[in-house]
Symmetry: C2
Subunit: 148 residues, 2 copies
DNA sequence: CAAAATTAAATTGCACACAACTTAATTAGA
DNA sequence: TCTAATTAAGTTGTGTGCAATTTAATTTTG
């Protein structure tokens, strides 16, 4: 009974640990690009879309303005993005890539394979893991909708 | 080629997201106990061991003194733990549970099942996920040892 | 035994992450 | 239409998480 509280029994601790560990593997690779992991996520959104609002980025990455506003200011300071108020709706801030930010994509394309080299995990296990997490997240969302 | 950088293709984003999401599910449950998730992890270590050094807790949870020292001071302030220098080795700080911290275990024992109720994920999927992450972490460690 | 190396915590500084709140702009509705 | 509700970002405050450094104590070694 009481050993339900043992860390090993818990479902979340390994995931919490694994997430931290992955980010630690990214750190040295991203340092070369002058990016942190969350900044890298934002850049990936922009490399896909060229231009996004703070809201859109937040929805995509599950981050709120309290996290994104200062993060985007840091990316602006580094010269990777531009922030400017929408003319149509003054509440909205549009984030777009600078030349420098666009060019960074080339270097970033090498990151995924570098990561796999460094992490030394079985590629097949990772694929299975990814599918399973997708499934769990998808099912969870579906179950939540049942409440309404 | 270039779509290797799409967020969906990456292995890490779902894990990063899932880890955050789990902690968000814990938040309201742990708020009743006046604990954050990392504080809850530390308390779990102590509920198992009664007394640990900062180092031991850090090894168990993969956290360094830069994270633990202020966290433990907050737990001390809440009256859940006591911190005192070892007499044998003055460098070491021993962390032990107060009465209040020990008593908190009863309430904490309800957390795991509450979490499962709230999260609405398939129990079987979670078990598979846990096993797989354990396997990946274990293999990774084994592979790293090969380097020496 | 004394200097050098190692070790354990603490400190400093930076960057998330999120709750709660504020401000300004837009939309909805009586 | 004009006020009330909603929305988008920003701000403030707290708590991690980690790199880099510091301080003090203990070991190791010459």
């Amino acid at each position: 009974m009481t050993d339900q509280l043992r860390i090993e029994k818990q479902l979340c601790f390994p995931i919490y640990l694994f997430a931290k560990e992955i980010i630690n593997y990214y750190r040295p690779l991203l340092k070369d690009l002058e990016l942190t992991y969350p900044q890298y996520l934002v850049m990936m959104v922009l490399w896909e879309n060229k231009k996004s609002t703070v809201n859109e980025i937040g929805e995509r990455l599950s981050l709120d303005s309290g996290t994104l506003t200062p993060l985007l200011k840091r990316l602006e300071k580094k010269g990777f993005v531009e922030r400017q108020r929408s003319e149509k709706d003054e509440r909205v801030v549009e984030i777009s890539l600078t030349h420098c930010g666009s060019n960074l994509k080339k270097a970033a394309e090498k990151v995924p394979e570098q990561l796999i080299d460094i992490m030394k995990v079985d590629q097949e296990d990772l694929e299975t893991l990814k599918h399973l997490i997708h499934k769990v997240l998808r099912n969870k969302n579906a179950n939540e909708l049942d409440d309404y």
